[in-house]
Symmetry: C3
Subunit: 264 residues, 3 copies
């Protein structure tokens, strides 16, 4: 039997020992787990950004992976700790919408409210449930504990709102979901929706910027260095990029910005 | 037998290949080791900060874990490489105080000066003992080598000084130990010492700031967003925090600052 | 049989889920692999810097290690995905020079152009071959697939240019290869070439700086705090450093700068 994988997604940053404490809690309970960091640089308290990042990575992990995701401004309050079982994985974390985008893409089967103290650390702080509740729950799942042992099954969980793309004739309006470390401006506009613009040119409007005309292309290198282009990114969403440059810095774009695409 | 865990704590940063070189040295000697990074963002050359971070994480690791900690401004000089055996773990690193806080909390049993070349890399640089001496020592310990094989037992090691909390009537004076990535101001004042203020309000004084009155509460979310509060953090020490905000940025606080608590 | 190690080197940064997606692809194909991050903070698109960092770390890994290195401004274009087999390891990545410095140090045996779709992810994006081609290739190599299964053997690959050190009488002229996170200025001047200056003093010239006289010493601590010194670093190359300080910040040095050494 291959070792179970537990992934970790958080807004904890990289400086503090908090992520190590979660891994310590996991390995104390299930020593054979392989942990993989998805990211710990989710913008602090930004549940939607974390949801997007987890949903990007989750499809590439093997069946049976257990995803722990903790962006948790409500830690210690009445918000519930939950387990979501999908057709291929488990998600563990606070009930604030963080895992839903990833979980729905896999098909949600059942959900539970974690209540049993038996699967938590002996001392539960009110400020760090990642270490005291979520990491231990993931490790116990990795040990083969059935999710129904953790608490009552639940029917409703918090779902984050994501803006839908709208189309009027050949004008598409969407939203910037995320700016990556290269400065690529990743939108919520799927490859299927821009078939009309493919291999041609497109006019792009971002807030407080003059409209930009640019090539629609398959690769960053299809544009000249520092030239903008529209490209289908590796998760099949439209990105605005500069070849070997930082598009978000040039266009002052950020997550949440409105973006409009039209014919040139 | 579960794989041995080797943790790594350093001020090496995240850009350079140095941490990978330590892991390479470890895995070359003991391929079954599981490595866990505690942090590599200890403030450069700040042994006390590293001691605090290691002491925060160490209690959560299983018995038998080997902790390698390298904040080592004296690398290549006469400062000794040492092994500390505690009731539950080993600590490996330079004799400059770094592991003492964590080791004393576990109960120190015996200590050794690493002298045997047999447990070092064949070529020993004078600038990177983390790779050439400490990582190999940890890996040989993970392989089951007895610590007495590494060199002579020693009785005294360097201990860092930490300020004690003082109390005059209902006024507590302590020190900021650490500012975490959220901007939480973590002090050396233990939960036991502030029982008198619990669930009430407290006046907090930090350098060059007007006294602040704030709630003492269990969770960050007990305050309004951006409102300051005093909270018992996940390691049982008092923190000054802003709900969903950065308290250290607001109050210009940093490690080493004096902090005074009194009744409102 | 010990688990195979796959190392990862990239310019992806630490924020995005891209590295996790590569690890997910690897563990889906070969669950027993141990992954080690060399660095993901190569300067963006800087193939030479990545080549240097990989060449620093690779010698410390055990025989059989598979190194995946992806700094890939030409992703999706005609640049070839390649495998290099050396006397002790495999290197997988784009044919742009990145692995050559490390591979030549180990002795290159054979090289292949990766063409077989059988060893790639089912859907291949044109912007993220790290996940879709290179990580899967490494995992299949870890599974024991023979490199000749991946595609045709090739004879020539792209090689990056590195400046050679020149000597005129007792004046050495070299180049800054890299500035590390401590601010140490690492040059391409090897320990063997500066024997003439050893244990004495040396005059150092960097661009736009007055000539500096400094000690040549074995350890950082041989200078007073914040005092400059010339030291043989842990990879046997000359570094200009400040004891407990940041030499690159003081001398405004950066990779690519010319550096001249002469007798005082």
């Amino acid at each position: 039997v291959p070792a179970r994988i537990v992934t970790l997604t958080s807004d904890f940053g990289l400086k503090d020992p908090y992520v190590a404490e979660m891994k310590a809690a996991i390995l104390s309970i299930c020593p054979s787990v392989v942990t993989v960091d998805v990211t710990h640089l989710v913008e602090k308290f930004n549940v939607r950004a974390g949801a997007f990042m987890l949903a990007s990575a989750a499809p590439y992990f093997p069946a049976g992976t257990i995803h722990v995701a903790v962006v948790d401004p409500g830690v210690g309050t009445q918000r519930r700790p939950i387990i979501i079982e999908t057709e291929s994985s488990f998600f563990v974390g606070p009930d604030n919408g963080l895992p839903i985008l990833a979980a729905e893409a896999q098909g949600i089967k059942r959900m539970w409210h974690i209540e049993s103290r038996r699967f938590m650390l002996p001392h539960i702080s009110s400020t760090f449930h990642g270490r005291d509740i979520f990491a231990p729950a993931a490790a116990h799942l990795a040990n083969g504990e059935a999710p129904e042992e953790f608490g009552p099954q639940i029917a409703d969980v918090v779902k984050p709102e994501f803006t839908k793309v709208t189309r009027e004739k050949d004008v598409l309006t969407g939203e910037v979901l995320y700016v990556d470390d290269f400065g690529n401006i990743i939108t919520n506009i799927h490859a299927k929706e821009i078939a009309v613009f493919r291999e041609g040119r497109v006019q792009v409007e971002l807030p407080n910027q003059a409209p930009q005309q640019m090539k629609v292309s398959r690769t960053y290198a299809a544009a000249k260095p520092q030239e903008p282009l529209a490209v289908i990114g590796s998760h099949s969403y439209l990105e605005i990029a500069l070849n070997q440059g930082n598009a978000a810095a040039k266009f002052l774009a950020k997550a949440g910005d409105k973006i409009t695409l039209s014919r040139t």
